[in-house]
Symmetry: C2
Subunit: 406 residues, 2 copies
């Protein structure tokens, strides 16, 4: 199937995803400091610059003695605290008081735990002595050159700590995408304004901004009436002139009616329309287009359709941009309550609350009265995939779902 064959017919969710993954290429890499690297995708493996640990360290607070010294009475000849390094050889009957993390003063030693000894002034009596050396030896965690963090890793707090521990303070990661979001629609007013009859508040700008912020992305956002969008210089230049925008999101104006201008706007400005409707609901009038390496989505104005399209398609685009290895979109769980569907001809993504913890995820379908009903968004954290023509699903039925948490 060619890309262009989708443009005129309704594409399945899987077909849209396949196209998104085909056209969204990993963005360039950049070096960033550790405090800006959380959640970013590593683009070059990080290897140990030297043996880890870099020196033999005591694993305990105690007394370092010669391994070949069977004495039980020792004289404290030195003290090594963490951070110190005082190389010296020990004679039989001598010990060095050493703290956890302290560098061993010589090879061939054993650390007797503080709890296994009795100390008074510079005299130590060893009460118990096992075979455990209580030393973390140089290189026992990793050898110089060994790969510590593989390419493609999403940098977690733990991974960043590992990078810090080996001095890798400017990791090479994928840059963040530059995103333009334009909310159109003659009927919308900003959320802090009172709409007149016929008008509604723009909730999609809030949804898009918060959705993207989960990925560390701060979009440039505009709110313009449809009529003005085509003529507005800022919109035209951002969308058309290759000024470095990686992703364009256009909210609203994607219905089948006379105000369906998103497709014309994109086509007029040189974009290739790959999808102009889907076989799924909500979100049927989705547009997906490309121009060079940039992607554009025309998102149906209905906020629930926005929610679904962001979590299905835009999420996949962000993952592909970041160079993240593709994770399966669909997870498996069990219905926690009946899902009374009427056997819709289109595949449906039903808002749900997913509870994890007891092994298999449990999904409670949420109320969804109409295409414009947002009330389920208060607690939705998943979308249940209801296949085309599927009728009522009983409680405990196995289902596929998409998580909407980041």
């Amino acid at each position: 199937m060619t890309a262009s064959s989708h443009a005129s017919r309704a594409a399945s969710a899987e077909e849209v995803l396949a196209l998104v993954r085909q056209f969204a290429r990993p963005l360039a890499a950049e070096s960033v400091p550790l405090d800006r690297a959380l959640g970013r995708v590593l683009r070059a493996p990080v290897c140990a610059p030297e043996d880890q640990p870099t020196f033999d360290r005591s694993a305990m607070d105690g007394f370092a003695v010669r391994l070949d010294d069977p004495a039980t009475q020792f004289r404290v000849v030195d003290e090594t605290r963490a951070g110190d390094w005082k190389p010296r050889s020990l004679q039989r009957g001598e010990c060095v008081r050493i703290a956890t993390g302290g560098a061993l003063p010589a090879d061939g030693l054993q650390v007797v735990m503080k709890e296994d000894a009795r100390a008074a002034d510079d005299q130590v009596e060893v009460l118990r002595r096992g075979t455990e050396r209580n030393i973390r030896f140089r290189g026992e965690d990793a050898r110089q050159g060994q790969e510590l963090v593989p390419i493609g890793t999403v940098l977690s707090p733990g991974a960043l700590a590992l990078l810090a521990s080996v001095g890798h303070t400017q990791p090479l990661v994928t840059r963040l995408p530059r995103v333009l979001h334009v909310a159109t629609g003659n009927e919308i007013v900003p959320p802090d304004k009172t709409p007149a009859c016929g008008q509604i508040r723009d909730s999609n700008s809030t949804l898009v901004r918060a959705f993207l912020s989960q990925f560390g992305i701060l979009p440039h956002q505009l709110r313009v009436p449809e009529e003005e969008a085509t003529a507005q210089p800022e919109v035209r230049s951002s969308i058309s002139e290759g000024d470095g925008v990686d992703l364009v999101l256009l909210s609203g104006g994607a219905s089948v009616g006379e105000h369906d201008f998103t497709r014309r706007l994109l086509a007029d400005l040189g974009w290739t329309i790959l999808v102009s409707k889907t076989a799924t609901r909500p979100g049927k009038p989705l547009i997906f287009a490309t121009r060079g390496a940039a992607l554009a989505f025309g998102l149906p104005g209905n906020p629930l359709a926005h929610f679904v399209c962001l979590n299905l398609y835009v999420r996949a685009a962000l993952a592909a941009f970041s160079g993240r290895s593709t994770e399966p979109l669909f997870q498996h769980g069990l219905l926690a309550a009946e899902l009374a569907t009427e056997g819709n001809a289109r595949e449906t993504y039903w808002p749900a609350h997913c509870r994890v913890g007891d092994g298999v995820p449990a999904l409670t379908p949420l109320r969804w009265a109409s295409s414009g009903d947002l009330t389920s968004l208060a607690t939705a954290n998943a979308l249940i995939r209801v296949f085309a023509g599927c009728g009522k699903l009983a409680s405990s039925a196995p289902v596929e779902f998409v998580s909407t948490t980041p």
Copy 2:
């Protein structure tokens, strides 16, 4: 069991958690704009300020006709686009061209879908007409005063969109905690410096900062040698003088040795020590203390112990501070590979990679060579709970685990 009884003996993870939840009280509420409210906990329910939708809206692009008009030929007498409101009564044989979202001009109408009609100039022939009115009626999603978002909700992008849609642009949420983090230890150098023999790079400051940033918290961080920490005015004043810090995290210096100064520092400055060691590993020398409404943790210097204590105890403190309803800490999954433990006398939190998707979470134990081995942190996203005395666990064995993702 009283709180003080824990201070001198090893507390179980559950006992520490119970104490944390007992002493960590929800912080004050504050109103914030929507673009700062993601992930925050709602402290007052949000109700519909008016019926939702606020007017009868067309659910389709089409033609509004009288419900009681059986004609098939209509004359277009007006046009209503989204955002318009043009109240008018219709006569038989008259219709209004209406766009999805447009306000119905009168009661008692039906919208015939554009696809079910043929239009030429101002004449419309209805080809198919069902009983569906294709109208979203005023109040069908929610009635004025109805609760939309309950108290305690963690505000997701979808919940924020719902708030925007009803003009609730300054939600009341729990304020973020003020956190002080002090990394001590004579042996540590900043991650971008080359340590001398005996020294190590400070990875705990990176770990703590990234961990907290997942909750939107930017800590104040200091790095001071142990000897200077007690005398340092900034440390003393931050920890002791009630200047509004909610949570103090002290890294390092919590071993059993002579450098165990965290407990003394906190006690000297008026804190009540509730826990000074745990029966778990890693993370045995944990300190938990309170002073008024503030909490302090002394975190063992070993970064893996840090990772465990942050994800077990500090996470619970942050949840309690935020007013989040308590979620079960432990989830249930299956081992994806054998876990070769040696039956340690202490309960162990073993670093693991958790894969979700196929129903029951699958946990792969990661390499953990020693208490200082950080290599597992590259990919760890879970901690498997291995009960005290538990020997080898076979692949597919059911296990409890803690997720370390936010």
